[in-house]
Symmetry: C2
């Protein structure tokens, strides 16, 4: 009766000490990642080069290729076990010369407006035609062909400012941009103008992908985004007079597909080299800004994850790959190809983390995984609390890693930064390096590294 | 044996329903505050005027008086029960003409540097004198009078970038600014240059209050802040050559005290009119920027709290006052006077909330209160979670409301926004309206209103 309790006590003590040691090791390791990122980080310098020396990196462009070359060179410098380029054919849409658009304002005077072609739009010059304002796709049927035919449809439903998560507000509007043209064409529209997905009032038009679906080339109509200030001016003009005309003159073209690449670096696992972790973002961006937030930030943070693991002298059990995906913005070819190659090779991917929500203060992560793994994540909350990045939610992850999803056995995760400012810059000429805060970027990289470390150490359930 | 359980069950049910109703009322009320703030807020427009039409509002300046007049007029428009000015004499320090400072760089060529006088500094022209770099007050004794006498002391200890809470990093450096001059003078220094309290590398000098303590006027030495870029350049020069000279030429003056005011508005309580809540910020600011973040944001958010309560048609039980305190930056005369008058009149203040940490995304509140009230606050977490503002910590509140502190019976609280960007702007020429994000400001105002509402409804424990 005496020995058992003593043994039990000793076992208990050992377990407690072990638990304390483990926790303390984890605390120290995570502290180390943050110190390395905040005191001696590379993500900000890399992003400076990518944004200011290369700039906007639309798929198929010279800049996209420069970004591939640059990140390959930088990954080579890190002393990873492997660095390679994964070929992928990408669409090659070009904007052409500066877009021109105007309407006649309430006094009848021509007012030039800030527009940009939506990604994928045909080039066209509509000439001056009538314009009809709608609040969304559903309005089209209400007005009918009689009122729409021969006109430009102006989609003006704004993002809902009282939603706290701005991605939700974006989700509530983006159908106008994505399928606005194909739907308006069914009613005989000759072009569409879409209010920029922007919660601010300013003069920047925000581009983004649109689709013609199966529409025959000769039936396609041009599509542009208009700045929020000019959307309001146009709406005011339409309300105050009946004969408003609008003109769109854009010169975009879709050229043949181009050879491009996903950029990949790997630290090969010590215990489970055949189980793969992916951490990534997308290397392509829209062309009007320099793509610092979308998604230069996520790419540089992902490269930084591998650099921090190495500099902390942590040898992962699993093989950890950074993947800089090509063509998220207008095709998702890179993400699709990466998953296809992985499947063809029978590579067992067990974890993927994407950062593609801007380089803002990280608040936590979202997880697309089973209950057991989410429970495990919740148990790590105390480790993230000192860094104010403990908001763990279930939900989506990232577009590029989406194709890796399978029935079970993989955890998909997305870094979730503060979303309040994201749509001020998203797909806009002001998505530039000066909108990046160094600390916010570095905190994200450290948080991502910490999550990768914990999943690597404790495994996928 | 049957009746009791049934009664218990019914009671239980009633309590549950009541709790649900209460929660649901609270949820609706808070949702309403956020909708009013984000869809139809005034804080951003008010701050636009205060920042761009009035500008920097140093105590005793014409702009400070304009800010008093403007906010009084705006509060008058809100239909509060009372609006008044509370007289307070304030210091009147002026910067004078643009500061000039230089050193001879490693090639011996004169390099002009970006400096600004610290608030309270005397005006002086040191001429070219030697300069000695130190990492803090403690270094002075190490070097001793022999190496310091006749020289300028250059305090160059940077903010610690790996601290997550940037206010903690600020706290670790600000002694150099506050008492650097008085301490250096003891060793015969003729002036001090202090590295700006800024986590970024840039060209802005950051001012702030300094003190001469009891030092006789004739013994006082000039004190300036230097930008982080120029601090690094100066340090490099000092390390690379031995005969670096530095020159400070500044023209500040302390003039006689000036009549100024706290601006106060009140909604008188329906049940406890003699129990007072205060919500406020400080109306004065430094003069080099326009004081948008520090603390125009906090003032406009505080005014917005009363506007939102009124527009939501909520009639508070307690008397709720907005107080725009004068002279936080270089004297705290407004906060001190408000507390003194309250005490003289026997006004029972039970709650005070200050916003003075910038108009950034709110993450939560800190509380200086007893256990019972903090427990109550923790029970409200679920109400704040949808708004991502549920980080409730114990700790400080705000400088202006500090003098209201008493042994018991008052809850002091501070809005705690994301701190990552605050010291990019704090006391600097770039603390301007363009650094304000409308949504972030409005979220703070809504969060503050929600907290005031809950404490008003459920009372102080």
């Amino acid at each position: 009766m005496i020995r058992l309790p003593i043994i039990a006590l000793l076992l208990c003590l050992q377990t407690t000490l072990l638990a304390q040691n483990t926790t303390s090791t984890d605390e120290q390791m995570i502290r180390n990642f943050y110190d390395l990122s905040l005191l001696d980080g590379q993500s900000y310098n890399w992003l400076d080069y990518l944004s200011n020396e290369i700039g906007g990196r639309l798929s198929g462009s010279k800049q996209a290729q420069m970004a591939v070359d640059y990140t390959k060179v930088e990954l080579d410098k890190l002393g990873l076990d492997k660095v390679w380029l994964q070929p992928v054919m990408v669409p090659h849409w070009i904007r052409g010369r500066q877009e021109v658009a105007w309407f006649n304002d309430s006094s009848g005077v021509r007012k030039n407006v800030n527009v940009c072609a939506l990604g994928g739009s045909i080039g066209a010059n509509t000439g001056e035609v009538g314009v009809i304002e709608v609040q969304g796709i559903d309005d089209l049927a209400r007005y009918g062909r009689k009122q729409i035919e021969g006109k430009i449809v102006f989609y003006n439903r704004p993002m809902q400012a009282n939603l706290i998560n701005t991605f939700q507000a974006y989700g509530g509007c983006v159908d106008q941009r994505h399928v606005g043209a194909i739907e308006a064409q069914k009613f005989g529209a000759v072009g569409v103008v879409v209010r920029s997905m922007n919660l601010r009032q300013d003069d920047y038009p925000h581009t983004g992908a649109m689709s013609y679906g199966e529409l025959a080339p000769e039936d396609r109509i041009p599509a542009v985004a208009i700045s929020t200030n000019d959307a309001d001016a146009l709406s005011t003009a339409i309300k105050s007079k009946t004969d408003v005309v609008f003109s769109i003159d854009i010169a975009c073209e879709t050229l043949p597909d181009v050879q491009s690449y996903n950029v990949i670096g790997e630290i090969t696992g010590t215990e489970f080299p055949d189980k793969y972790f992916v951490v990534g973002g997308h290397l392509d961006s829209w062309d009007t800004g320099d793509g610092a937030h979308d998604d230069g930030a996520g790419c540089m943070q992902s490269m930084e994850v591998l650099r921090l693991l190495k500099n902390a002298n942590y040898k992962p059990k699993h093989s950890i790959r950074v993947v800089l995906f090509m063509n998220e913005e207008n095709g998702l070819r890179g993400g699709t190809e990466y998953a296809k190659v992985a499947q063809d090779k029978g590579e067992n991917h067990v974890f993927a983390l994407e950062s593609d929500a801007g380089g803002f203060t990280p608040l936590g992560f979202s997880f697309d995984c089973d209950d057991a793994n989410f429970e495990q994540v919740l148990s790590w909350k105390p480790l993230f609390e000192p860094y104010l990045t403990q908001s763990f939610t279930r939900g989506g992850s990232g577009a590029d890693i989406g194709p890796l999803k399978k029935e079970s056995g993989i955890v998909l995760s997305g870094l979730r930064p503060d979303s309040q400012r994201y749509f001020d810059y998203h797909h806009s000429p002001n998505d530039t390096f000066d909108a990046i805060n160094k600390r916010e970027l570095e905190l994200g990289a450290a948080a991502m590294t910490s999550l990768v470390y914990l999943f690597d150490k404790y495994g996928i359930k």
